[in-house]
């Protein structure tokens, strides 16, 4: 019975191959790399590689549809001769500083209110969080309409309350007002993250500490400075670091609301990089602009790894 014997011989061979793979996958030193490799492959291909491409573009005179040559750091240096870039550099710090500062103060205040006993707690929390979940590009359209030069509801309200002189500011057409407008929208959209994270930090502070402080005669202000704030410090650190990098690299709000105008007064690195790199085609210069985000990213990553991860583990 030759056929039967072949059949018998073939089956164990197949089983043993499967079993061997199965055995390997049962061992941590094999299963681990197999499980991590899809993520690793994806991130190398679509984060690390484009990042290296950005580095390459930034030291070349790349232009859409033309061969490029190595020109060293000329892009980075030449940018300083451009008014638009110098303005953008300044804007980025003003925008980030003002937005993160306000978000921190308002976020802390609102979190402390929400930490009190309240009616409809869930509903209120849902309302507070809403600006964070709605697509930013779309909600910014709503703000665009609210700041419209002819039909601004902000101005209408300001005039009705007697806070403004008619006709009220042209929010998106005057430089300082335009900057105020983009900062306000960024605060509006980023506040929920501060509130919810700080609230989680507040809830985790043990009641006994407040009771002990109260027993020692500390008033509400002293309790805030000597109990709440020191214990919140790690949480506040995380929130500010995260927010700094994402505010600094913001794109959506400025793009929809002002397109960087009037006269570049609200451009940020990301919006200017897009304008120079894609709309005018000077990819090399655009890449150099977006790489000015990198030092800030480095500082934030360094701080995160140093302080935050130590606490997470």
């Amino acid at each position: 019975m030759a056929i039967g014997r072949v059949g018998v011989a073939a089956v164990p061979a197949r089983v043993s191959l499967r079993a061997r793979v199965g055995n390997l996958l049962d061992r941590e030193e094999w299963l681990g790399p197999v499980f991590v490799s899809p993520a690793l492959f994806l991130l190398l291909l679509l984060v690390a590689y484009p990042f290296c491409m950005a580095l390459y573009f930034s030291v070349s005179n790349a232009f859409i549809g033309r061969p490029s040559h190595f020109i060293g750091i000329r892009n980075f240096v030449n940018l300083w001769g451009s008014d638009a870039f110098r303005q953008t550099f300044q804007n980025a710090f003003v925008f980030t500083g003002a937005a993160v500062g306000f978000k921190l103060v308002l976020g802390l205040s609102l979190a402390m209110i929400l930490n009190q006993p309240l009616w409809f707690k869930r509903l209120i929390r849902g309302a507070v969080l809403l600006p964070w979940v709605i697509p930013t590009a779309l909600s910014t359209l709503g703000w665009w309409w609210m700041f419209n030069s002819l039909y601004s509801v902000v101005n209408w309200t300001g005039l009705a309350l007697g806070l403004m002189d008619p006709p009220g500011p042209n929010w998106l057409g005057q430089r300082y007002y335009a900057m105020t407008a983009v900062v306000v929208v960024n605060i509006w959209r980023g506040l929920p993250f501060f509130v919810i994270t700080i609230l989680a930090g507040l809830v985790s502070i043990p009641r006994e500490l407040y009771e002990a402080a109260e027993a020692d005669g500390a008033g509400p202000i002293a309790r805030f400075w000597h109990v709440t704030l020191p214990l919140l410090k790690p949480v506040l650190g995380i929130v500010v670091l995260f927010s700094t990098i994402f505010t600094f690299s913001d794109f959506n709000i400025v793009y929809v609301l002002t397109h960087g105008g009037p006269i570049n007064s609200t451009h940020l690195f990301a919006t200017l990089a897009r304008q120079v790199g894609l709309e005018t085609g000077r990819i090399g210069e655009g890449a150099a602009i977006s790489l000015y985000l990198f030092p800030v990213l480095m500082i934030v990553v360094w701080a995160q790894l140093r302080f935050v991860r130590k606490q997470a583990y």
């Binding site: 499980f35 990042f51 309240l118 509801v153 894609l278 991860r309």
Partner: protein, 273 residues
């Protein structure tokens, strides 16, 4: 409740009022505008806070029948569902490996994935702009920010599953993959739901990649369509624009209403983009 406590509580609610107006007014105004008739919308003497001349659905019908809004929404759904699913699978196995298994360079890999989560998309979109102009480019690129996030979130959840539960199953003859599938994943369901919700929200809301990688009307997503196609030159159709912003937010609002607590816990765990 004593009288003092009651007054205190009412005072707290009063303090909340300005914050709530700030958070909600833009949505109210958006919805209101989308329901107003044009003659009231462009009447500078009308009160902008209310509808006084009767509501209308004309902006919505115009949006649905005269523009490609339904196509944009379909594109958004396709991109979002596919990239969420892919990211969840890749993120789950990576998170399991990084939080549970011991192998070569596991610590470095974990740190590496965390760092890529912090790299803003605005740093990478220029070199990637060379890729083809298609919604499939979005399905491929969205996982670059969704996978690090899902991995990061799920690592936390997997660490809370006791190792012993899994070891028990393996002593009883299950392989490691069976133990993961039958024991660990069912325990980590809340984490998976949370990761899926956030991945869905992040990719639905994504704007800069969508704006860069898609341009023709049959490829763009809802947020790009509403912000670019509805604005023609200097003439703005404010009613339809606001109707588009409202409708394109509906899927997220529906999820949000049902899963509010997951959003809160995910945000606390560091979902920030």
């Amino acid at each position: 409740m004593t009288r003092r406590k009651l007054t205190q509580r009412i005072a707290m609610h009063l303090l909340l009022v300005p914050f709530l107006i700030f958070a909600l007014f833009p949505f109210y105004h958006m919805a209101l505008t989308s329901l107003k008739q044009n003659k009231e919308l462009y009447d500078r003497n009308a009160v902008p806070l209310l509808i006084t001349k009767g509501p209308t659905l004309e902006h919505y019908t115009k949006l649905l029948w005269d523009t490609a809004f339904l196509t944009w929404t379909k594109n958004s759904l396709l991109v979002t569902v596919l990239s969420t699913f892919v990211s969840l699978v890749i993120g789950t196995i990576a998170a399991y490996a990084l939080s549970r298994l011991k192998f070569f360079a596991v610590g470095t890999l974990g740190t590496g994935i965390f760092v890529t989560y912090l790299v803003p998309t605005s740093l990478l979109f220029l070199p990637l702009a060379q890729v083809v102009n298609s919604k499939w480019a979005l399905v491929v690129t969205y996982p670059t920010f969704l996978v690090p996030f899902c991995t990061w979130l799920l690592m936390g959840y997997f660490r809370t599953v006791p190792k012993e539960v899994e070891e028990c199953a393996m002593v009883d003859g299950a392989t490691r993959i069976q133990a993961l599938w039958r024991i660990v994943l069912p325990i980590a369901v809340p984490g998976l739901v949370c990761a899926a919700l956030f991945a869905f929200t992040l990719s639905w809301n994504e704007f800069i990649y969508a704006l860069t990688f898609t341009s023709s009307s049959d490829q763009i997503t809802a947020s790009v369509g509403v912000t670019s196609e509805l604005i023609r030159g200097d003439i703005y159709y404010w009613g339809s624009l606001m109707a588009g912003a409202v409708l394109a937010s509906v899927p997220i609002v529906v999820l949000y209403v049902f899963f509010l607590d997951y959003y809160v816990s995910g945000l606390t765990a560091g979902a920030i983009k």
